[in-house]
C-alpha cells in the first residue's frame, strides 16, 4: 500500500480511517440483511401490494445485499494475486484470462479496429440506459458498454466487441488490462497486455447475485480463437506464441455462475512488428518469422 510511505502520524490517521471504513462497510452489509427481513415481513401484511414489494425486495437483495455480502466474504478468502481469472466488482471470480498481447496501445487499437472490432463505451448512466432500452427493443448498439471486471485491482483499460445479428444481448467481447511494469505471467513470460475474451450469448440472472447480466458461452476457447483469427486475418504479419496448457485446471464458473470449459492454451499475440506511430521498426529479437505461430509446450 502506498500509505506505508507516509509519516507515522499520517499513517495512524489513515489506519483509523481505514478501520472506520471497514466497520461501516460491514455494518451496512448486516443492516441491509435486516432491511431485507423488515421488507419481507412488511410485505406479508400487504395484499395486492405484494407484487410491488416483491420487485423491491429482489432489487434490494440483488443490487445491494448480496453484492455487499459477497464483497465482505471474498475480501476474506479470495486471493488477490494473479490466478488466471478476472474478478467482478463484487469480488467474485469473473471471466478467465485467455489471451495476452505484446505491443503499444496504438498497435493494439489499430489491430483490433482493422480486425472489425468496435471499442465499447465506458459505463455511464446514459450508456447503461441505452444498453437496457436497446436490449429490450432488440435495437443494435455496436458500442454497448461492457461490465467492469477487475485484474491487478483495476477495471479493464478498454474493451472491444462485435455485435451479433444487431442484437445487444449477443456479442463477442474482449477486455484488456495493461500489465504492471515488470510483471510476468506464471512461468516467467513477459507480456504487455492480458485479455479476457468471452461470448455473451443471452441476458439472464446471475447465479450468485441474482442481478440481470449477460450469460457467457461456456466454450471460452472458441471466443479466444475467434479473436486471434480475426487479428491474424487483418494483420498477417502478427506473430503468435501459443503457450500450451497454460491453465488446464481452470475449469470453473464465472462471476455470473456460468460454466467455463477450456483447453487451457494461452495465445500471446505479438503486434510489435506492426507499424505504429511513435515506434519505427520492430525489435530484432522477435520469435519466429512474420505471421508465424510458435508453440511453447511444457516438460513431458
Amino acid at each position: 500500500m502506498s500509505d506505508t510511505a507516509q509519516a507515522p502520524s499520517a499513517r495512524r490517521r489513515v489506519s483509523v480511517g481505514a478501520a472506520l471504513d471497514g466497520f461501516f462497510f460491514v455494518l451496512a452489509g448486516l443492516s441491509s440483511v435486516w432491511l431485507a427481513v423488515l421488507l419481507a415481513s412488511e410485505s406479508l401484511g400487504l395484499g395486492w401490494g405484494l407484487l410491488w414489494f416483491a420487485v423491491l425486495f429482489w432489487a434490494l437483495l440483488a443490487y445491494l445485499v448480496l453484492p455487499r455480502l459477497h464483497r465482505i466474504l471474498t475480501r476474506l478468502y479470495v486471493p488477490n494475486y494473479f490466478i488466471g481469472r478476472t474478478r467482478t466488482s463484487d469480488g467474485l471470480l469473473g471471466d478467465p484470462v485467455n489471451l495476452a498481447v505484446n505491443g503499444t496501445p496504438e498497435q493494439v487499437h489499430a489491430a483490433l479496429a482493422a480486425a472489425g472490432w468496435t471499442r465499447a463505451d465506458d459505463v455511464t448512466i446514459a450508456s447503461s440506459l441505452r444498453i437496457i432500452t436497446s436490449t429490450v427493443r432488440r435495437r443494435s448498439y455496436r458500442q454497448a458498454p461492457v461490465s467492469p471486471l477487475l485484474l491487478f485491482d483495476r477495471i479493464q483499460d478498454f474493451a472491444y466487441q462485435q455485435e451479433v445479428a444487431d442484437n445487444p444481448a449477443r456479442r463477442h467481447h474482449v477486455r484488456f488490462w495493461r500489465c504492471p511494469e515488470g510483471w510476468m505471467l506464471p512461468g516467467g513470460h513477459r507480456v504487455d497486455w492480458v485479455a479476457a475474451a468471452t461470448f455473451d450469448r443471452a441476458v439472464g440472472l446471475s447465479l450468485f447475485t441474482l442481478q440481470i447480466t449477460h450469460k457467457i458461452d461456456e466454450h471460452t476457447d472458441v471466443e479466444r480463437d475467434h479473436v486471434v483469427a480475426s487479428i491474424r486475418q487483418a494483420q498477417p504479419q502478427a506473430r503468435v506464441v501459443l503457450i500450451r496448457d497454460f491453465a488446464t485446471g481452470y475449469h470453473s464458473r464465472n462471476g455470473g455462475g456460468d460454466t467455463i470449459q477450456t483447453d487451457g492454451d494461452l495465445p500471446v499475440i505479438d503486434l510489435r512488428a506492426l507499424p505504429a506511430s511513435g515506434r519505427a521498426a520492430a525489435p530484432a529479437s522477435l520469435p519466429g518469422a512474420a505471421g508465424s505461430v510458435v508453440e511453447l509446450t511444457g516438460l513431458s
Partner: protein, 168 residues
C-alpha cells in the same frame, strides 16, 4: 489556473463522481425533505401540536398558550437548524470531503443501531406507518457511502485538493 495547459492535469487528477456518491447524496436529500415535511405538518396543525406539550406531567397549553407555542417553536427551530446543517453536510459529501462522508455514515449508523436496539430489545414494530421509511433511507445511505467507489472517490478528491493547494 489561467493557462489552458495547466488546467488539464488538475482535471485528470479530479476523479469522476461515482454513482454511489450521487445516490447517497440523493438519499440524504430525501432524508432532509422528509424532515422538512415533518416541520410543515407541525406548522399546518399548530394548535393540535401545542396542545400535546407536557411539562412536569401537566399540559402546558391550557395554562400558558404563549409558553407552549414558544417551546414548540424552539423545538421546530432546533430541528430546522439540524436539517440545514445536514443539508450542508450533504453538499460536502457531494464535493468529496472524506470527513463529511464519515460523519454522514456515523449519523446513519447511530440511527440504524438505535432503531435496531428498539426492534430487538423492546420489540418495536418497524412498518411503513412507523419508521420503515427512515430506517430504509439510513441503511441505503450507509450502503452507498461505505461502498468502495465512494471511499476511493473521497480519498482521490482529497488528494486532488491538496495537490491543487500545493501547486497554487
Amino acid at each position: 489556473m489561467t493557462a489552458p495547459g495547466s488546467a488539464r492535469p488538475a482535471d485528470r487528477a479530479r476523479p469522476r463522481r461515482p454513482g454511489s456518491v450521487v445516490g447517497g447524496v440523493l438519499l440524504m436529500l430525501a432524508r432532509t425533505l422528509s424532515g422538512g415535511f415533518v416541520i410543515a405538518t407541525v406548522i399546518g396543525r399548530w394548535d393540535e401540536f401545542t396542545a400535546t406539550i407536557v411539562i412536569n406531567g401537566d399540559r402546558l397549553a391550557p395554562v400558558d398558550p404563549d409558553a407552549a407555542a414558544a417551546v414548540l417553536g424552539w423545538l421546530l427551530g432546533g430541528y430546522g437548524l439540524v436539517l440545514v446543517l445536514y443539508l450542508g453536510l450533504t453538499a460536502l459529501v457531494f464535493t468529496g470531503h472524506n470527513w463529511a462522508r464519515v460523519l454522514a455514515e456515523s449519523f446513519a449508523a447511530v440511527s440504524i443501531l438505535l432503531s435496531f436496539a428498539d426492534y430487538a430489545l423492546n420489540g418495536a414494530r418497524i412498518t411503513l406507518r412507523t419508521s420503515l421509511v427512515s430506517v430504509t433511507l439510513d441503511i441505503l445511505i450507509l450502503l452507498a457511502l461505505s461502498s468502495t467507489a465512494a471511499r476511493h472517490y473521497a480519498r482521490a478528491a482529497r488528494a486532488a485538493r491538496s495537490a491543487a493547494r500545493l501547486s497554487r
